[in-house]
């Protein structure tokens, strides 16, 4: 029988202050980034505008392409060359709602004789639709966080529910931060990933909390932090393995799933990774601190 992480006895809770600092640093960095840049980099789904994906018959360096477009009068166009096997593809972001494909096509073909341009994808969103979608996205994220909070609040004690929900915000926020730091856009699909992370990353937390609840009688004699450590260690293998299988799926998507899904799968990878970490070091650790604080208020010395 192959076994990983069985019978471990890692004093996780001892190091929770370091983890708090690490998490806080990431969250503060994310918030600072968001404040400085006035929010994440939204895709045309949310800002309104046009995204044009074209493929040329041969690879043209991005700077030459940009120069050609500038000269052709498309100064406001943001050009991005794709990477890897798709270097013959470009993403063009335009402010205008109108479609300028035929103009861009003519410009490119005039500048680079023999190059033909194929239109692969157009996403054009009017400004009103964009702001509607932004509203809806925010409500969906808040709504699902509230829904999960409610469910966890009904099923678990207050201290656990609070820890779990803070962990949830932590995972979603840090994933958003990682997207921002790596210059990725927040699109509809990325919001879908954030919501999925919200629903999924709490799974590991549930595993740990279920264990504490189940063993509460046996662990009563232990200190709270020892009890928490035992629960985390006993469930460590399943916490890691369940995350690992989803991580493998998301990794396959990230590497082989194509350009359109890359930001989505990137968010999933980060979310699942941090979700595992946060189930131990945010959800459990916070629950422990709340537990200790509550007991202290009741006059029980816990530690």
């Amino acid at each position: 029988m192959l076994q990983l992480l069985i019978g471990t006895n890692i004093p996780f809770m001892k190091y929770r202050r370091i983890a708090y600092m690490f998490s806080s640093a990431l969250i503060v960095a994310t918030i600072v980034w968001l404040v400085i840049h006035g929010g994440p980099r939204y895709s045309v789904d949310f800002t309104g505008g046009t995204l044009l994906q074209v493929r040329t018959s041969r690879v043209v360096p991005a700077d030459q392409m940009r120069a050609a477009l500038d000269e052709g009068g498309f100064r406001g166009v943001e050009l991005q060359q794709m990477t890897g096997d798709n270097r013959d593809e470009y993403l063009l972001r335009l402010k205008a709602g109108e479609n300028l494909f035929s103009g861009i096509q003519t410009t490119i073909q005039k500048h680079f004789p023999g190059v033909t341009v194929e239109q692969r994808r157009i996403e054009s969103v009017g400004p009103r639709i964009g702001s509607e979608l932004r509203q809806k996205a925010i409500w969906a994220v808040l709504g699902s966080l509230a829904g999960i909070l409610l469910y966890v609040g009904i099923r678990y004690e207050f201290k656990f529910a609070l820890g779990a929900v803070v962990a949830l915000f932590h995972d979603v926020l840090i994933t958003l931060g990682m997207l921002c730091f790596t210059g990725r856009e927040v699109s509809l699909t990325v919001v879908a990933a954030l919501l999925t992370i919200a629903g999924y990353s709490i799974n590991d937390t549930i595993v740990v909390f279920d264990r504490i609840r189940e063993r509460s009688k046996a662990l009563r004699k232990e200190t709270h932090s020892r009890a928490m450590d035992i629960a985390v260690n006993e469930t460590l293998s399943r916490t890691v393995i369940t995350s690992l299988t989803v991580f493998l799926s998301a990794l396959a998507l990230f590497i082989w799933g194509g350009e359109v899904l890359r930001d989505f799968s990137f968010a999933m990878l980060i979310g699942v990774g941090f979700g595992t970490y946060s189930s131990v070091y945010v959800a459990s650790a916070l629950a422990l601190d709340i537990w200790i604080a509550l007991d202290r208020r009741k006059g029980i010395k816990a530690e």
Binding site: L2, S102, V207, E214
Partner: protein, 522 residues
């Protein structure tokens, strides 16, 4: 086999049989050659199959998704009430005549229409066809004298209200007409002067100078006059003599213009009522010019030589075979009750759609491979059981999608790939629990029972939270995202069945024979 197991086996067999039943049409449909699948004129058999098969989203098969907004600002309440329905009917009829397999025209909210055209590649043409109001009017052109007087009044108005100082005296005295290349019954303006003239005509207060029963109309862009490229401006009577509501048929045709027999145009036949009107209008205005105005642009303004009793009329201009054919379609289907604006467009070319399917398939297979490898190495025979359950999970997921008539989108494929990873989670929780019970010295049979019972609650809680997110996602999402939410939710629900019930049945079956089980490959 005890009673419980019989029930479980029955359930699994029934679910599997149902799934096969629901997936058969999809299997048959996607085995057809693509040409047959996407033809607009497919047999009844094929279109039946298409209805029952899993739909591919536009992001996978290529096509256009448009959201139109109907501008009802200039309509009264009664007109506005059914404007959307009428607009949808007309758009539907235009698309039908254009020929697209399985188009979707659907109302969204108060004043929006969603149009989906699968597999369509001629994007611009479709937009022109759908978005054109196609309001056809016949307006009487003012005589050369009347036109000159109107332009003269504009000149003197502009001369006194000039916004910029002009050095040239001719330009100062006649700011507008000095830009005209010619001025007869209509003015012709060279291409390079058009922006200036447009700007001048937009001068505030100009409307009050033009007599109330007249209006200025631009002609077709890129017209030629005496070998010069430019655009004409007409002075016409504001009230139309008649509108295009009386067209019986319209067809693209060659040789409608005597000066250019190779040019395409659209010939129209009016309805009997229209014929009477047209005969009266032409009879009363012999030797005058009648402008044929399409969406506010004077296409042409032929001189009426004699009364026309036949009800034949034609539109000429810069057409090719395609644009003439499309205009004929649009005229036959009728004008939209109000202008529409495209406020959202998502078009995916067929090549990208095919690539996405390829990449999604590849990611799915590799993802499955990785998960299978891990599970089999780590849990051995039990891992194999979990893998079978996972495959069954995916199979049921596809069947449910076919059964619900839901659409598989690119994010939906991502949802399936994630489901592969998530669906073994429940088994991991159960197996770890079984191992733990075994370590604690329980018998194999006891361990299995306890493992399932104790892990169940955790699995349920974990699934419910993800499903809550999925439901919000479904509520919020546009098409492709909805596709993702559906695969996620259905995948997890099916997972409760496959990962808990199905694997339990297999375990019971394995342990049930030969009395006391001594070894469990887990």
């Amino acid at each position: 086999m005890n009673r419980n197991d019989q029930w479980r086996l029955g359930g699994v067999l029934l679910a599997t049989a149902l799934s096969v039943w629901y997936l058969l049409p999809s299997f048959h449909y996607y085995s057809l050659p693509p040409a047959e699948r996407l033809s607009a004129t497919s047999s009844r058999e094929v279109s039946e199959m298409r209805k029952k098969a899993i739909h591919l989203g536009l992001d996978l098969q290529g096509g256009m998704h448009l959201v139109l907004e109907v501008d009802r600002s200039r309509m009264n309440k009664a007109e506005a009430a059914d404007a959307i329905d009428r607009a949808m009917e007309i758009i539907r009829s235009r698309i039908d005549q254009f020929g697209v397999a399985e188009p979707l025209v659907q109302r969204e909210g108060e004043d929006r229409i969603v149009v989906q055209l699968p597999g369509l590649t001629e994007r611009q043409r479709a937009i022109d066809l759908i978005g054109k109001t196609a309001l056809l009017e016949f307006k009487l052109v003012r005589t050369a004298e009347e036109a000159r007087s109107v332009f003269g009044r504009i000149d003197s108005y502009l001369a006194t209200h000039a916004t910029t100082a002009v050095a040239d005296t001719a330009m100062r005295r006649s700011p507008l007409t000095s830009h005209f290349f010619s001025l007869e019954s209509s003015a012709f303006i060279r291409q390079e002067d058009i922006p200036t003239v447009r700007k001048l005509l937009a001068t505030p207060g100009l409307d009050s100078i033009i007599p109330g029963d007249s209006q200025l109309l631009w002609g077709e862009p890129d017209a030629t006059y005496q070998n010069i490229t430019g655009q004409a401006v007409y002075v016409v009577k504001r009230e139309p003599e008649m509108t295009g509501g009386k067209i019986a048929t319209a067809d693209a045709q060659l040789g409608l213009k005597s000066t250019d027999p190779g040019a395409w145009g659209v010939s129209m036949k009016l309805t009997p009522a229209g014929r009477v009107d047209f005969a009266r209008v032409t009879g009363n205005n012999v030797n005058r010019q009648l402008a044929i105005v399409l969406d506010g642009v004077a296409q042409s303004a032929p001189v009426i030589n004699e009364r026309i009793p036949s009800g034949d009329a034609s539109i000429t201009g810069n057409f090719n075979a395609e644009t003439a054919r499309d205009l004929a379609i649009v005229l036959r289907a009728g004008a939209l009750p109000a202008p529409v604006r495209i406020i959202e467009e998502r078009s995916v070319g067929p090549s990208l759609g095919a690539d996405s399917i390829q990449e999604g398939l590849k990611a799915g297979l590799i993802g499955t491979g990785l998960v299978v490898a891990f599970m089999v190495v780590y849990y051995q025979l039990s891992g194999v059981i979990a893998i079978v359950a996972m495959l069954l999970n995916i199979f049921y997921l596809f069947a449910c999608m076919a059964g619900f008539g839901s659409t598989l989108t690119l994010p939906g494929i991502a949802g399936i790939v994630l489901t592969i990873g998530m669906s073994v989670d429940a088994n991991v929780l159960i197996f770890e629990r079984i191992r733990e019970e075994m370590r604690n010295g329980k018998s194999i049979r006891q361990s299995v029972t306890l493992g399932y019972d104790r892990a169940f609650r955790t699995i349920l809680d974990a699934h419910v939270t993800t499903i809550i997110s999925g439901l919000f996602l479904f509520q919020f999402g546009t098409g492709p995202i909805k596709g993702f939410a559906i695969t996620l939710i259905v995948g997890l629900v099916a997972n409760m069945f496959t990962a808990v019930l199905f694997t339990r049945m297999i375990f019971d079956f394995m342990l049930g024979r030969g009395g006391k089980a001594e070894r469990l490959s887990i």
